[in-house]
């Protein structure tokens, strides 16, 4: 085993160790379990955005739409169809992912700013649908009246609703599953192709790669991950509202990805930790917490354009 590989393994062990024992060490630093669940879910969302942004080089500014669709589909399933948490997750993931895939087909020929604009436009369409369709979505009031259900394994039941620690582990398992699949895709030849497109689209095209098809697949996969995160988020709050579809939330995900480090696998999770914890803490201290986040982003973009993880990595190679 090379030193590089050993180091890589050590980092992985450290990350998963920190995540697995989070409910035990977080309270020592003023954290609480529900905050951990939120970090994981938003972190997954940021990683899904980064899957597209960092590894395919395509900036979508409307990804909150798929996040919110996942949340609404999960909530509506729990409320009206069947009281089963896994079913809600599956429904949320499918609805958000399929909708993303269908609209993605219309998007893939656009590039750069035009791609970002069209994604915002599509995202806002869903926002206004959720806002206006009062009888189904609850409009601006949000979707209430559903709650995560216990996991029933015949032999034993796991109460996710009243026990935060169980729910945290449930989220962690879901997170691990999604992140595992994401890592597997990125290591596959398909993942390498994505990076080739990011690095030089024209050269990739000359090599015979079907650019549009690959971007569409990457976009769709990213939407599925996003919708899965959204469905989980509906369970974190037992609530969904139109702001989960709004482009400002897409902006938050991009901020997390940029802050932590695009082009790194774990960067967005780190960005989500910084963003969510800072928001949670600062918003209790001052109503102007957004200014502090804003200052932080300006500093990061000016001085560490590759994000926190990017900076660490640069340091090592330098």
């Amino acid at each position: 085993m090379t030193a590089e590989r050993q180091k890589h393994l050590a980092v992985l062990v450290a990350i998963w160790g920190a995540l697995v024992f989070a409910p035990y060490w977080m309270p020592l630093f003023g954290g609480y379990t529900a905050l951990g669940s939120r970090v994981l879910v938003l972190g997954l969302g940021a990683m899904a955005v980064n899957f597209l942004l960092g590894f395919t080089g395509v900036l979508s500014f409307g990804h909150a739409a798929w996040f919110g669709l996942g949340a609404y589909a999960c909530g509506l399933t729990l409320k009206f169809v069947a009281s089963s948490t896994p079913l809600g997750l599956v429904a949320g993931t499918l609805v958000g992912g399929v909708a993303g895939g269908l609209l993605g087909a219309l998007l893939v020929r656009r590039r750069g700013i035009y791609f970002a604009m069209v994604t915002i436009a599509f995202g806002q369409v869903f926002y206004y649908i959720a806002f206006q369709w009062l009888s189904v979505t609850g409009g601006d009031d949000g979707l209430r009246g559903f709650a995560r259900q216990p996991l029933d394994f015949k032999l034993f039941r796991i109460d996710l609703l009243h026990n935060d620690v169980y729910f945290y582990y449930f989220v962690l398992v879901c997170f691990a599953l999604a992140v595992g699949i994401m890592a597997f895709i990125l290591r596959s030849p398909f993942g390498r192709t994505m990076i080739a497109i990011r690095e030089n689209e024209r050269r990739a095209r000359f090599l015979g790669i079907q650019i549009e098809l690959h971007i569409w697949i990457a976009f769709t996969l990213s939407c599925f991950f996003m919708a899965f995160a959204g469905a989980l988020y509906a369970l974190v709050n037992n609530f969904a509202d139109p702001r989960m579809l709004h482009y400002s939330l897409s902006g938050d995900f991009i901020i997390m990805a940029v802050m932590g480090g695009m082009r790194t696998f774990w960067g967005p999770l780190l960005g989500a930790i910084v963003f969510v914890v800072l928001q949670d803490y600062l918003s209790s201290v001052t109503v102007n917490w957004m200014s502090f986040i804003g200052i932080l982003i300006v500093l990061i973009v000016l001085f560490f354009p590759r994000g926190v993880l990017g900076l660490l990595r640069q340091r090592r190679t330098a």
């Binding site: 009031d141 709050n237 037992n238 509202d241 918003s283």
Partner: protein
């Protein structure tokens, strides 16, 4: 490049990092557990401190703080001090309000939750408090279902229901102004149920609705809605929006000169909004939920006005100050009555509790109705004044003070089926 004390060059990165570190120290508080003596009773306040409802939200906070200080000066609740933890719920983002409610309950272990000005946020918070079994008083979110079809054993409400507000003024509006009504309604829970209440009352009186403009919360430009409303040629234009939306809407109404062609009025009006309007926009018949200038003044009312003036730089108390004040005092009284802070015991003590004169600060009987946990508070019906009468902040002429149970629908009509947990 700058030099350090010994004259060596200091890299720019180091300077920046030091700056960042110093900056971080300013905001990072040491996460050290407080010494655990007699732990204070924690009360979570989750209300708008930013956005269109910032003014009412802050005033509720001031009312709460006054009551907290008064109670702590008298040795707290059951001998324990109380501590108010405030969070900004934003004015219209229910997701944030839910997140803050969870934070207060899960991280800070509050025994009692207060909020919200916004009806939709109140409903969303009520779901959280109910799931967690924490006593919850809604100080200022009016939509009917909170103490109606969605009523919950742990949720009480201090302010009126939208139906009570409609009942308080609709027949007067009808008699004074005419029978064709046009509405400007905020597009969320509060506006929806307030409009339904007014529409039902108007139909009973034999009037007609010429239209209902639904405006998203936080609308700043009402011109399109106002043009439509004027074209419909109603007798009365009812402005149901609140907070900054109310201020903007009435300002634009007076800019367009609409109040000279159509009567402008509404149901709920608040001193916060009225003070923010230009004098010519202060028109029409409205109801206040509490008003400071009362014909039958009492020493406790005078004391309350003086106490609030001290905290607001000389401003008189508003209904929102009173909501916050009542919320904390009602909780304290119920805890003392139950001799416990356990949610179920306190909820039982609060149901059917009557507020003493030094807290209700108004003539009629004020009590929580056991069947739906709704406070029966009076409606102050009257007219806005362009200029202050006697005091620059006396901008409302109270014509009548209607008792709460005279305008409230019966418990059966609200649709509430209260169920205590086993």
């Amino acid at each position: 490049m700058s030099k350090d004390l010994l004259g060596r060059p200091v890299p720019r990165r180091t300077v920046l990092k030091a700056g960042l570190a110093i900056g971080a120290v300013q905001v990072a508080s040491p996460f050290v557990l407080q010494a655990r003596g007699e732990e204070p009773i924690k009360i979570g306040f989750d209300d708008p401190l930013t956005g269109t409802y910032a003014a009412p939200g802050k005033n509720e906070q001031i009312g709460c703080e006054l009551a907290v200080d008064q109670i702590n000066a008298k040795n707290g609740i059951l001998g324990r001090k109380i501590e108010l933890l405030s969070e900004d719920s934003t004015s219209g983002d229910a997701g944030t309000a839910v997140q803050k409610a969870r934070k207060l309950i899960e991280r800070d272990n509050v025994s009692f939750l207060i909020g919200n000005v916004n009806s939709a946020l109140s409903q969303a918070m009520a779901q959280v408090s109910n799931e967690k079994g924490v006593l919850h008083i809604v100080p200022g979110g009016h939509t009917d279902p909170i103490t109606g079809v969605d009523c919950k054993w742990n949720v009480f409400r201090v302010c009126n229901t939208t139906r009570m507000e409609a009942n308080a003024v609709c027949s007067l509006l009808f008699k004074t102004y005419g029978k064709k009504w046009h509405f400007i309604t905020p597009d969320y829970a509060f506006g929806h149920t307030l409009f339904q209440g007014c529409e039902a009352d108007l139909k009973k009186l034999g009037g007609t609705v010429t239209g209902n403009e639904l405006t998203p919360l936080g609308t700043t430009d009402f011109s399109a809605y106002l043009i439509k409303a004027r074209a419909a040629n109603p007798d009365v234009l009812l402005v149901l929006v609140q907070g900054n939306d109310m201020v903007n809407c009435l300002k634009q109404i007076s800019q367009f000169g609409i109040e000279k062609q159509i009567h402008v009025a509404g149901t709920q009006q608040e001193l916060e909004s009225v003070e923010a309007m230009p004098p010519e926009a202060r028109v029409g018949v409205w109801m206040f939920e509490w008003y400071w200038k009362q014909a039958a003044g009492t020493p406790s009312l005078d004391r309350f006005i003086a106490d609030i003036r001290k905290r607001t730089g000389g401003k008189v108390p508003t209904a929102r100050n009173w909501f916050g004040y009542v919320t904390i005092h009602a909780y304290a009284l119920a805890c003392e009555k139950a001799k416990s802070i356990e949610a179920k015991a306190v909820a039982k003590a609060l149901a059917d509790m009557e507020l003493p004169p030094e807290i209700k600060l108004q003539p009629n009987k004020v009590y929580f109705r056991g069947g739906d946990h709704q406070l029966m508070l009076s409606a102050f019906v009257g007219e806005l004044l362009h200029q202050g009468d006697g005091d620059p902040e006396n901008l409302f002429k109270v014509n009548s003070i209607v008792a709460g149970d005279a305008i409230a629908p019966s418990v059966a009509e609200t649709g509430c089926k209260m169920q205590m947990p086993a």
